[in-house]
Amino acid sequence: MNSQILELKGKLEERLAQIKGADDLESVRVAFLGKNGEITGLLKKMGSLAAEERKSFGQAVNELKGFATQRIAAKTAELRDAEMRRMLEATPEFDVSVPAEPRHGSYHPITLVQRQCENVFRSMGFTVEDYSEVVTDYECFESLNIPKFHPARDMQDTYYLENGQLLKSQTSAAQNAIYRKYRDALVNDGKPIRAIFPGRCFRNESTDACHENTFFQMEGVMVDKNISISNLIFFMKTMLSEVFQKDIKVRLRPGFFPFVEPGFELDISCLICGGEGCPSCKHSGWLELCPCGMIHPNVLREGGIDPDEYTGFAFGLGLTRLAMMKYGIKDIRDLNGASLTDLEQFAEDK
């Protein structure tokens, strides 16, 4: 009987040595270990053996079965490894030198700059307000201490509409409404008014690379008891440093705007040269950036706020100008030009 086992073992080894692939191996498994396999067949024969032979034969067949199982498993693993190696070898190395094609839409540069500014002001407790584009003479002028025939009305050639309304020539046109909106919270609850209001403004002028009839500004106001010029300088410096993400020097010069008193022109140290003097600041080291000032008592009064009790400051940032400075846009008309080749470049900007 042992010779039978040895023979079978030899046959198995021989077969395994010539294995062609996974299917072949499976047929080997079936041939030896399957239901009708040769090893299984030996086990089936056990019943016909004498009891004394049965034990030793059984043991030998089981050993053979264990041996076959293990050898086939080893062969399976060997084949799998070989297959994996073959697959890896067959896989090409990808050509990453081909330029990548990122896909993106784009935000308008004004949106990007506006979001950056809004985030800075929001972080300092300012609300962000919105306002209409068509306003009344009262909103744009009267409520801002610019009575009829005031020379300040010369400065802004306003678009008037047939019905007597006008396209707002400055974001300040929203001031009165903002004061009225928050007046009660200020007076009754002691909540200071801190608000910015970005918006689109219109001036009746002919356009060129530096002039547009449609542009964006962002106005800001802060009103409380005891708001001072000292506070104004602090906030402007802090906020502008955040907006430009560097330490900005600011200086104030007297400036005349009817809705503030005192009024200032605020200059910042040149962003290009840092104050040394260069062509972009006309060698002065300073850039004129934004008008600001202490809110005129008449303007507060029109907004229902007692100027003897409350003071405040207001400022106006040119968002369009800021976007042009930030991205080096030379022709202001490009902003409303809708050329996608230009605009697609503004994917995102934190």
């Binding site: 784009s106 919105d130 020379p151 509409l161 906030f235 008193e261 605009l343």
Partner: protein
């Protein structure tokens, strides 16, 4: 306005102080100074007084002369000179060898065969006027060899103040006012202005003058005669020239000089032409020739100065040609007047003629100045031409003086406004240096505002703050944050929705945000065959193309798409902008904010593109409002919209906007092969849709049962709404798996997923719910396919 530092120094001693530093301070404390500062005379040296000793004609040239000049250095110098006015005995400005005149260095050089060792100079060559008609003639008493800079004020520092920054400061439109600022900034004394005392002529007869119109606040005038000189002193001419004015003749120069000095415009009339002055307006328009020779149309609102009934000048703007001071004028009537600032500004705008005078008057000059100016004029005239005789008394009518302004405040007011400590002494000193009268007791102040600041500029307490702080210097401020209680800052909902919309369209759908104008560009629209719809119009558009405001952003976007057709085969743009939908019942514009989207594709058919757009809208409402939109048929209400494919967008029970396919006639004008679709969503309506919020449900541990049902119905039957309405809680989700359209009917297969969440559903239970859905749909005319 150009400012001469020499002139400033007439009124304030600035010795020992750095001029540039002072100008810089002035720029930071008073008014903006342009960057470039002019150092007049800095490029002129080595020019001396020389006498022409002999003149010979050049043998070969008609123009050139051979001169011998005595430049005071003990020898005679040979000079070749081309000036026509050379003569023996004349003293002139002579640039010696080694001298410099701007770019020119003087060295001996050959001129037409003769050596010239120096150059006789014209005023232009010295840079002190634009006169180049001949060489400059110097006074006979000047010693030869004297440097011209010792004779004339050639050296000067001139800077330019930005006129815009002087709008509210009428007092700064002359050197004396500027000098007051320098005195205050430097802490030096301002000298009094030297004027002739006009009261000594009070016994003389008046000028026949009468104000017949309320637009004249004050009119002062005086008559002089026996004026013998015609040319003004050289230093006066140099100053005028440095300040941007041409010298004309003595009287004209003097009036200009006084205006540049103390800002009072002073037209002078030839006495022979002006005998009885009347200030009035005319009922009937007429033409009037001003002294620049231009015929101007005068209407009934323009104030005129007249001789009897004959107009001789436009009040506050410009004199007439006929009464102008001419070469042979020896007697004159000098006007020193004050007019309503608004009237001058409007007249000058109407005439499109801004003059040095009108620019000043429109700022609201101080009427107190008229008499001072007349006195100053006489003083300057007499200094130069002592024989002048005054033949009338100062005649002065002053019907409309400004109110005097006095203000009271206390220290705490200053503290509150400034946020820093400025001492009482400093407050007093600053205000006094600026001409305010100050009474100070303890912490209380009472100030009288000087008349030159009281015409409009300083009228209330806050104005005083500016005076104190600007002289204190903003650079010297200690800066502090404000103490204020903190509260949460909530963005208003519309804003956060807008930002989300932008993010989704840019990040998920790769659209490009554009900006456009609020008006309809008629010529651009016409190219696409779109007519501008009637709407509110601009009253004063300079460009007829942009007269009408837009009702919708879609036509604008179609123009923008049209302009970008070569950008890519497929793209989309969007904008959140404003439109005006006519006027409301109160005659106010109906303004609303819209989201406009336009998609363009040459690679997808119109239907696919339309469903792409629908997907975008659905993503917006789903992401922001957690709701699905529905689309209802809408009749195209604009000619540029496809008559069949236009739908209202409904979400949360609100009509939030419209989507549509662009009319093929318009689309063909953009691109014959492209599909163009649009959406216009009303931001306020979108925002008003109630956010359904996130309703979290745990993923069921039990298997779902899918049931596929196929229905037959009309093409536009709203199957989703019907399923939603069936209201079974076991319906977890549903989706359309197949649609087959045949004419007006369609067959639509829907896979409905049932799940109870807490148990495995039994088939019977599922079929019962499915049956109820089938019944519900059948009631809507959506029948189960048998």
């Amino acid at each position: 306005m150009l400012i001469s530092m020499n002139w400033i120094r007439d009124f304030v001693d600035l010795d020992g102080l750095d001029t540039n530093e002072l100008i810089h301070k002035f720029s930071l404390s008073t008014a903006e100074v342009e960057n470039e500062i002019f150092y007049k005379g800095s490029d002129v040296f080595g020019v001396v007084c020389a006498e022409i000793v002999s003149v010979e004609n050049h043998p070969d040239s008609k123009k050139l002369h051979l001169l011998k000049v005595d430049a005071g250095d003990g020898k005679l110098t040979d000079v070749v000179c081309g000036a026509p006015n050379v003569r023996v005995g004349m003293k002139t400005a002579f640039a010696k060898v080694g001298a410099k005149l701007g770019e020119i260095s003087i060295s001996p050089r050959d001129l037409a065969g003769y050596t010239s060792c120096g150059m006789c100079c014209s005023e232009k060559e010295l840079g002190i006027s634009d006169d180049h008609s001949g060489i400059m003639e110097l006074d006979a008493c000047v010693e030869n060899g004297t440097d011209v800079k010792e004779i004339f004020d050639i050296d000067d520092v001139v800077f330019e103040v930005d006129n815009k920054s002087l709008t509210n400061r009428p007092d700064l439109w002359g050197h004396y006012g500027i000098a007051r600022e320098f005195a205050a900034l430097a802490g030096r004394e301002l000298k009094a202005l030297e004027c002739a005392d006009l009261s000594e002529y009070d016994s003389l007869p008046c000028v026949d003058m009468k104000i017949e119109d309320g637009l004249c606040r004050r009119y002062s005038c005086i008559r002089f005669e026996n004026i013998t000189k015609n040319v003004s002193p050289a230093n006066m001419r140099i100053r005028l020239y440095y300040c941007g004015m041409r010298a004309i003749n003595l009287l004209a120069d003097l009036t200009n000089y006084v205006m540049l000095e103390i800002r009072q415009p002073m037209p002078a009339f030839d006495s022979r032409k002006v005998e009885s002055i009347r200030i009035r307006r005319f009922d009937n328009p007429f033409d009037f020739k001003t002294l620049d020779g231009v015929e101007r149309h005068i209407d009934e609102n323009t104030l005129m100065i007249c001789n009897g009934d004959i107009p001789v000048a436009i009040a506050g703007i410009m004199g007439g040609l006929d009464s102008e001071i001419v070469e042979d004028t020896t007697s004159l009537v000098l006007e020193s007047a004050n007019f309503d600032c608004v009237s001058v500004r409007k007249s000058s705008a109407r005439l499109s003629h801004r003059t040095d005078a009108s620019m000043r008057y429109e700022k609201s000059l101080d009427p107190e100045m008229t008499v001072t100016a007349a006195g100053r004029f006489l003083k300057l005239l007499r200094d130069w031409d002592p024989g002048v005789r005054v033949t009338s008394r100062l005649t002065d009518e002053y019907p409309a003086p400004f109110d005097k302004v006095s203000l009271e405040f206390d220290k705490s007011f200053v503290d509150k406004y400034t946020g820093i400590e400025i001492s009482n002494e400093r407050i007093v000193k600053t205000l006094v240096s600026l001409g305010f009268k100050v009474e100070n007791e303890g912490d209380s102040f009472r100030v009288d505002v000087p008349t030159w600041r009281a015409t409009k500029d300083v009228t209330m307490k806050a104005d005083i703050i500016e005076e104190i702080t600007r002289i204190y210097g903003y650079d010297n401020f200690e800066v502090n944050t404000a103490a204020a209680p903190l509260y949460p800052v909530r963005p208003f909902e519309e804003k956060s929705d807008e930002e989300l919309i932008k993010d989704i369209l840019v990040k998920s759908f790769f659209l490009h945000e554009v900006h456009s104008y609020i008006w309809a560009y008629s010529d651009e629209l016409r190219k696409l065959g779109i007519e501008v719809e009637k709407n509110v119009r601009l009253r004063n558009a300079t460009n007829p193309n942009i007269e009408t405001l837009r009702r919708s952003m879609i036509p604008t976007q179609l123009c923008q798409v049209n302009q970008n057709t070569s950008y890519a085969p497929e793209f989309g743009i969007f904008e959140i902008g404003r439109v005006i939908d006519g006027l409301d019942e109160n005659n106010m514009c109906r303004e609303s904010k819209k989201l406009a989207i336009t998609l363009f594709s040459k690679v997808q058919d119109t239907e696919k593109l339309y469903f792409k757009l629908i997907e975008m809208i659905a993503t917006l409402t789903d992401s922001i409002k957690h709701r699905r939109p529905a689309f209802a048929k809408k009749s195209a209400d604009h000619a540029y919209i496809h008559p069949k494919n236009c739908n209202d967008v409904i979400c949360g029970g609100r009509n939030i906007g419209v989507i549509g396919v662009v009319h093929p006639a318009v689309a063909a004008n953009i691109d014959k092969k492209a599909a163009v679709v649009f959406a216009e969503i009303d931001i306020a309506e979108f925002c008003a849709v109630e956010d359904a919020g996130i309703s979290y449900a745990e993923t069921s541990k039990y298997p779902s049962v899918d049931v596929d049902l196929t229905f037959i119905c009309d093409r536009f039957a709203p199957i989703a709404a019907a399923i939603d309405a069936s209201g079974s809680k076991l319906i977890r989700a549903y989706r359309v798996v197949d649609v087959y359209t045949d004419g007006e009917k369609k067959s639509i297969s829907v896979r409905i997923e049932f799940n109870a969440g807490d148990r495995t559903l039994q088939r019977d239970e599922v079929m019962k719910v499915a049956d109820s859905v089938i019944d519900a749909l059948a009631a809507q005319g959506i029948a189960l396919k048998s």
